[in-house]
């Protein structure tokens, strides 16, 4: 098999490029290829003939990737719920702001900025909710390959949405400030928080692509980052004239603590909670 290792590595690279989120499938097909090569070389074929026959029997790498893309990539309920809730809230907030603009209660630029903030930060919470569900699934040993793949696909979509809408919110906010206060930027708490949320989500987008448990941790910690940025800014610069209610700070602190605790739980072995209660299996 030493003759084939370079060819197998090159074949694997070509197949993997069409099936980035299915490394398990690539492993399985590689096992098949190796068995076929063994069978053919034992039958007396030369290495070149065995390679050509085995690859032809398996089929063209691009066609394999296309066939797999057709198989049902059914999602995972928590990610579907998160995306649906985000979509629903986005429609409601959008409709409310549009009505306010049409009634001259809000300028269009400010309304667009507010929508971008709400939808962008909402997408981060949607990802965070999915990540929290993934922590629970990991703890009970039910975070399988299918669920992990669905979570990572949703994570890519949601972190990219957060980054894009937060960037839009920053730009729109700067334009609104220029039009109304004469300057683009004032380094206030909300602006700095938006920069932090943007930076975090750009990093999160890179992490989601690297591995599922890393994506889980950045998702849950992202909840703490966005909550601190969004609602914590109100503590530093309370809205006038109503200010911030007395329960606000402890509730925010409790939420941030809970998310950091969940993030820590992600580092426990798969199925730890189920084993502890006498159930359980490991994560596939």
């Amino acid at each position: 098999m030493a003759d084939f290792e370079d060819r197998i590595a090159s074949w694997r690279r070509e197949l993997s490029s069409g099936m980035e989120d299915r490394p398990d499938v690539v492993d399985e097909l590689e096992d098949h290829l190796r068995q076929e090569l063994e069978t053919l070389t034992r039958a007396g074929k030369t290495p070149d003939d065995a390679w050509d026959a085995a690859v032809a029997a398996l089929g063209d790498a691009k066609r394999l990737a296309r066939e797999f893309s057709k198989t049902s990539r059914s999602g995972w309920l928590p990610t579907r719920v998160a995306i649906m809730v985000l979509g629903g809230c986005g429609l409601l907030v959008g409709a409310y702001l549009l009505a306010a603009v049409l009634r001259d209660r809000f300028g269009a630029l400010l309304a667009a900025h507010v929508f971008a903030v709400v939808f962008g930060y909402g997408a981060a919470f949607a990802f965070g909710f999915s990540a929290a569900a993934a922590v629970v699934a990991h703890a009970t040993g039910t975070l399988g390959v299918r669920q992990s793949q669905a979570f990572r696909r949703a994570g890519t979509l949601l972190t990219a949405t957060t980054a894009a809408f937060t960037l839009a919110a920053i730009v729109l906010g700067a334009l609104w400030l220029r039009a109304n206060r004469g300057h683009y930027w004032s380094w206030d708490a909300r602006e700095v928080a938006a920069l932090c949320v943007l930076g975090w989500n750009c990093a999160a987008l890179a992490c989601v692509r690297r591995g599922v448990m890393l994506a889980v941790v950045v998702g849950v910690v992202g909840n703490a980052v966005v909550a601190t940025g969004w609602f914590g800014a109100a503590l530093i610069e309370p809205p006038r004239p109503q200010g911030v209610p007395g329960w606000f700070a402890p509730v925010l602190a409790a939420f941030v603590t809970s998310q950091l605790t969940l993030a820590a739980a992600a580092f426990m072995p798969a199925g730890w909670f189920a084993r502890g209660t006498g159930g359980g299996q490991g994560t596939a």
Binding site: D24, V25, D27, E28, L29, D31, H32, R34, Q35, E36, A57, L58, G59, R63, L64, E67, F68, K70, T71, S72, S74, R146, A284
Partner: protein, 107 residues
């Protein structure tokens, strides 16, 4: 013999379920069994089996697990679930009905 694409697509699921009803197996062994059953007369591209296996698993008819094979490498084994046995029984009824109809029509 090259079967019509639709016929291959329709028969792949029942064939795989039937093979797995005989016990746990893995992709390469399943392909070999298909070749044996057809006496080498039916051509299947090996790669087309795996999307079928994955679809059956997503539908809940079969389950899979990775085990270390005799050569020390990881290998994915598939087994029929109770749901899969029910699905196989339904497929069998339908194919036997179609086979009966065609046999009558061609006699």
């Amino acid at each position: 013999m090259k079967l019509a694409k639709d016929l291959v697509a329709a028969s792949a699921g029942p064939l795989v379920l039937s093979i797995l009803s005989g016990g746990e197996s893995y992709g390469y062994a399943i392909i070999q069994r298909v070749r044996e059953l057809s006496g080498g007369r039916v051509e299947w591209t090996d790669g087309m089996l795996y999307p079928v296996l994955h679809r059956l698993e997503t539908q809940g008819a079969i389950t899979s697990r990775w085990r270390v094979a005799e050569n020390g490498r990881k290998r994915k084994y598939y087994a029929l679930k109770t749901t899969g046995r029910r699905v196989l029984a339904e497929h069998r009824q339908q194919w036997e009905m179609v086979n009966g109809m065609l046999a009558t029509a061609w006699s």
